[in-house]
Symmetry: C2
Subunit: 264 residues, 2 copies
């Protein structure tokens, strides 16, 4: 899906909400647990309930890989169930030497046909570029993440800038705002204005709204691109586990609408 | 498998060779290609031919993921075929926020029972620690990798040291030499003495011998720990694709023995 289509979707639906499908068998409602395809059934209900109030779904690969080959099947079936006109992200944080990143790109852009994947920049240019060769797909590079550990290396100073700022400046030359985005943790909203100055045209994927505690108003104020929004704001646990009862999908929708109200 | 057992294996087999199972359907011998389980058949033959002349196998997850759920099955079957007394590494380069890294740890240490996994340090302490909670397993943190792109961020200066040196100094406090190792690219053998000074007791996993061009003599000279070796030296393509004919396993063994000769 193209950047222009995504911008049009955001404007039409009046939201930049991305729903994170970090589906954990231990956390889904009890009445679903005994069923053979419990996770898929849960995901389908969440997708049915939220598809008209979000512009993207983000599938966190870890939650499927922990189930082995069966989990990979569930990921594929979940992806297939998402309406074709909604942007899909494999939150996979991959990245390796060139020939290996080529295989990861094939896994997520061809074998599974996600629109986008998150990648780790640690290993540098040749670990990211194989993803960017898919110019009709989107490579989402980790810049500043929302977790406490981001202070350890992302926020080290290199010269007069942070490592994550150097990641932004260096990596933005590898692709274009049409095939690249950045992960920027919402809990660092105070840094958003500086980040936006470095990458004025790239979409930012903001995790950490909801369970991770980011402030959505600050994100919109400092992180947006006038006229294009330029943001995908993700919420996972707050939506997925809004209720542990039979009304889980209804409550998930209510949470999504609440976030939509804040975002639009 | 414990560090002491690994050291004993190295001393008994007189090698620190790790064989990388980066099996690419496009590169395996033509006579195997039509068969339904071509990759598994190839892997089994390679394992049969090399098990007595290596101390570890490293499965590169990307090469299996690109085949979807079927690939995950092949990875599991390959892992199951490796003799139980040989150290196994999932070369997965995972790393995410805490609750997600917990799921990755479960995927590779429980659902699949690898002895070790490679992880990316970019997101910091809480992205690595969930792996270290498995104290009977080994978490192998990327420090300095062997690819050209390592210059982009790993080799940035922060204060008077490189980012990868800071990664070593900070992360070694999170675990112990019993449950942590580091990835250090052999093509940077000149940096090995400095790295060994920072982590005098940790095993180093050295990729990049063979196809990636590292110099094995320098690795042994500057990277070893006296009396314990302290190294796993990986070779993948040079062994796997030593011949594209029916003698591929025999030629793979010959390559492994050649490396063994250099290493012991």
């Amino acid at each position: 899906m193209s950047r222009n289509k995504l911008i049009a979707d955001i404007q039409e639906k009046r939201t930049c909400l991305c729903v994170g499908l970090d589906t954990d068998l231990a956390k889904i409602p009890t009445h679903l647990k005994g069923r053979p395809d419990a996770i898929l059934e849960f995901n389908k209900a969440i997708i049915d309930a939220t598809a008209d109030c979000c512009v993207a779904y983000k599938i966190n690969t870890a939650f499927y890989e922990c189930l082995g080959a069966k989990g990979w099947d569930l990921m594929e079936a979940t992806l297939a169930y998402i309406p074709k006109n909604i942007f899909t992200i494999a939150d996979a944080k991959r990245g390796d030497i060139g020939n290996t990143s080529t295989m990861y790109a094939k896994a997520f852009f061809e074998t599974l046909s996600f629109d986008a994947i998150t990648v780790s920049p640690y290993m540098g240019s040749d670990s990211v570029k194989p993803f960017l060769e898919y110019t009709n797909k989107t490579t989402i590079v980790l810049a500043l993440t929302s977790n406490a550990g981001s202070i350890d290396f992302e926020q080290l100073k290199t010269g007069d800038e942070f490592v994550y700022e150097k990641v932004l400046k260096t990596s933005k030359e590898w692709g274009t705002p049409d095939n690249m985005m950045y992960v920027v943790g919402a809990t660092k909203a105070s840094s958003l204005a500086q980040i936006r100055a470095i990458v004025p045209e790239h979409f930012l994927l903001i995790p950490g709204v909801g369970a991770q505690g980011g402030d959505i108003d600050e994100v919109l104020k400092y992180g947006g691109i006038p006229g294009q929004t330029g943001l995908l704001v993700n919420s996972s646990r707050q939506i997925l586990y809004a209720s542990s009862g039979e009304d889980f999908a209804e409550k998930a929708r209510a949470e999504a609408l609440k976030l939509l109200g804040k975002i639009s």
